[in-house]
């Protein structure tokens, strides 16, 4: 196995041209996006307060005080809070007077009128609030403490003997940037999915009858398991390193993808593994031509990216409402969602669930590919390559 790995690396190094694209892709895309709207990272982003309605109810006090207390860098409030009854709030949302309604039940939830970054901010703030509220058990008091350069909103749990402090938002002033960060996460998600194409060749070249070389590799005394796993490993490393290089490049040019590097590496690793395994499976489909395999790779990558809002917005939310299971297994959604879990929600349970789903699908796909490869024969040999 080490033997195959060694030569797979040698071949990869000699084949620089193919691999260079893997490296260029995230860096070029990041640069491009940075030029397109990166100025928000340099200039102070000034935004009008977002009008929101808080429904009348048991949490109305806490919520309005909480939301009203959040201020931007320049001192303007983030939200302009109105307390309305259910009907009034609905009307206000319909008329576009408010961007979102926050219900005041025992556990607040958000109703939004559209899908722009304002709504996303409301959703992420309330999600964060709810999560911390769950952790705290009961919230009695809310204090808003003003730091010198960053606002911090804290929730205090007074039921505990020692009052515990929960940070709701570490840096709300970066709110809008988090939204743009989505596009940068998308680069990783796409990078992982695009590795599918390169990986398809790993198994495609092992299909008997494709080329004289594939015939030669099929008659040798090494199991398909060893061959596939070794080659996959090498290609996986290439993709992983390329994505990580992209990540460090993004940080270098000033895109604030803060957070635990290990956590990021985990997502990229799981994503790359998934992408590579998917390619390996597609490459092993018998009886179809190379062209069709490439088509399946490109098509499925596009579809998955589209479903996960990597191209537009709104689709993912739509799926979440109708067939949420799709978002639980759609790789691009899992990847971008995992980034959200570490940057926005700090929800590691979800994080690991996403990663395990990706890795699980990769293992299943690879197993099927190896199963096919170790028993298929060609109907005919290609006469010339």
């Amino acid at each position: 196995m080490l033997h195959i790995i060694k030569y797979a690396i040698k071949t990869a190094v000699k084949n620089r041209n193919t691999f260079i694209w893997t490296f260029i892709f995230p860096i070029a895309l990041a640069t491009f996006m940075y030029l397109a709207f990166g100025n928000i990272y340099n200039e102070e982003f000034v935004m009008k307060s977002i009008p929101v309605a808080v429904e009348e109810g048991e949490m109305q006090e806490v919520l309005s005080e909480f939301l009203g207390g959040l201020a931007q860098d320049n001192g303007d409030p983030y939200f302009e809070v109105r307390i309305l009854d259910k009907e009034g709030a609905g009307k206000a949302l319909e008329n576009g007077e408010v961007s979102a309604i926050i219900t005041s039940g025992a556990e607040p939830s958000v109703i939004v009128g559209g899908e722009d970054f304002k709504q996303e901010i409301v959703v992420s703030v309330i999600n964060s609030f709810v999560r911390n509220m769950r952790k705290a058990g009961a919230i009695r008091l809310m204090t808003v403490s003003e730091g010198t350069d960053e606002m911090q909103v804290v929730l205090m749990d007074e039921t505990a003997a020692e009052p515990e402090v929960f940070f709701v938002e570490k840096s709300l002033s970066k709110g809008p940037q988090n939204i743009y960060n989505n596009f940068f996460y998308a680069i990783f998600a796409m990078g992982c999915l695009f590795s599918t194409m390169g990986a398809a060749n790993l198994t495609s070249k092992l299909m008997p009858g494709r080329t004289s070389l594939s015939g030669r590799l099929n008659v040798c005394g090494t199991s398909k398991f060893k061959m596939v796993v070794s080659e996959m490993l090498v290609y996986f490393l290439v993709v992983f390193i390329a994505q990580m290089a992209g990540y460090f490049y993004m940080r270098l040019i000033g895109i604030e993808l803060t957070g635990d590097v290990l956590a990021v590496a985990g997502i990229i690793a799981a994503g790359a593994l998934y992408g590579v395994a998917k390619g390996v499976l597609i490459g092993a489909i018998p009886k179809i031509s190379e062209g069709i395999k490439v088509g399946i790779c490109v098509g499925s990558t596009m579809l998955l990216s589209f479903l996960a809002d990597l191209c537009t917005t709104g689709i993912k939310a739509g799926i979440e409402r109708t067939v949420p299971i799709v978002n639980r297994i759609s790789p691009a959604a899992l990847i971008s969602d995992s980034f959200m879990t570490i940057y926005v929600y700090e929800d590691y349970g979800k994080y690991f669930q996403n990663l395990l789903t990706l890795v699980g699908m990769a293992v299943v796909g690879t197993s099927i590919a190896i199963f096919i490869l170790s028993r298929c024969r060609a109907g005919k040999m290609m006469l010339k390559t």
């Binding site: 033997h3 195959i4 030569y7 040698k10 071949t11 000699k14 084949n15 008997p208 009858g209 080329t211 004289s212 070389l213 015939g215 030669r216 590799l217 099929n218 008659v219 040798c220 005394g221 090494t222 199991s223 398909k224 170790s374 028993r375 298929c376 024969r377 060609a378 109907g379 005919k380 040999m381 390559t385």
Partner: protein
């Protein structure tokens, strides 16, 4: 007698084309077995079926008494294949290519190094170890292809037209090498449409045409299948009908022709045929030139059985 390969009633179709038509073949352990047939007769198809690369429609194939399956890596470890089309990695050097393929069979590093060295020597590529395939001439590339197929010292080796495009000197080296491999205990399946090669090295030969086995045996046995054993031709323009009558009566002559001053005598057997003709002409003091005695080749065997030339 142990059989290395038994193929019986093998049928392989490519859509409407019948590539193998109830093809039978048995190969004994330790022999060089020649598969001789014109282009498109099904030699490569046969090998690919035996190697479980190709699906086939009917028939049975046993290798060392076992039905070979795509995942029978134990059996595959004992087999070496030199495909008709060169199968090497363009990115790797000559040495790396051989080492790569050898490593798919042999784990021990020290042993592998020795095997690779031997394979390089076998094909005479010592001066090209660092070259990548793209920098090798056609003949050198074929020699690399051979080295990659045999480096791991397999018990059973398939050579599918290995000498195409190789110069006569190296070709001879390769043929001698193959004989040495046999002497070292390997069983060899050798396909070619060069009858001279096949005749030179093969212990037994199967002649195939249109997916069928038309004759099997040693070169001698095959040649004995033909009616013609010797043809003598000479040029002279002084023969009378009486002379021709006498010559027709010479021992073993079954046919005679005399056209444009060229006399041809066809013999069904016998020795000293030439001496008798020459003696007769001398007695009669008839001048002659350009005497040839031709014994049948495998091509003649093929011609007689199938009605066409082995090579076009």
């Amino acid at each position: 007698m142990e059989y290395a390969i038994e193929v019986s009633k093998l049928v392989k179709r490519y859509k409407e084309l019948l590539a193998l038509d109830h093809f039978d073949m048995t190969i004994r352990e330790g022999e060089i077995f020649g598969l001789l047939g014109p282009n498109g007769s099904g030699k490569t198809t046969t090998i690919n079926c035996i190697l479980s690369l190709l699906k086939y429609d009917k028939g049975q194939i046993r290798v060392f008494g076992r039905e070979i399956k795509p995942s029978d890596y134990e059996l595959k470890k004992q087999i070496g294949v030199v495909f008709q089309e060169v199968a090497v990695f363009d990115e790797l050097s000559v040495r790396d290519n051989i080492d790569y393929f050898c490593g798919l069979y042999v784990d021990d590093k020290v042993l592998r190094k020795q095997y690779v060295d031997e394979a390089i020597k076998f094909v005479g590529l010592e001066n090209y170890e660092k070259f990548v395939p793209g920098k090798l001439s056609g003949g050198l590339l074929r020699r690399l292809n051979i080295a990659c197929g045999i480096a791991h010292k397999p018990k059973l080796i398939f050579f599918d037209e290995p000498t195409v495009a190789v110069d006569p000197q190296s070709r001879n080296n390769i043929l001698e090498g193959i004989v040495k491999l046999r002497d070292a205990g390997a069983t060899i399946v050798y396909t070619s449409h060069y009858m001279e090669e096949v005749e030179q090295i093969c212990d037994r030969i199967l002649i195939m045409d249109k997916g069928k086995a038309v004759a099997t045996g040693t070169a001698e046995e095959l040649k004995n299948m033909t009616k013609n054993r010797e043809t003598i031709t000479l040029e002279t323009d002084a023969l009378t009908d009486a002379d021709l009558e006498v010559m027709k009566g010479l021992p073993h002559v079954y046919d005679i022709s005399y056209e444009n001053g060229v006399l041809s005598l066809y013999y069904s057997a016998g020795r000293n045929n030439l001496v008798r003709v020459v003696n007769y002409l001398q007695e009669k003091d008839i001048a002659f030139t350009n005497v040839h005695s031709k014994v049948p080749t495998l091509n003649d065997v093929f011609l007689e059985i199938t009605g066409k030339e082995l090579r076009d």
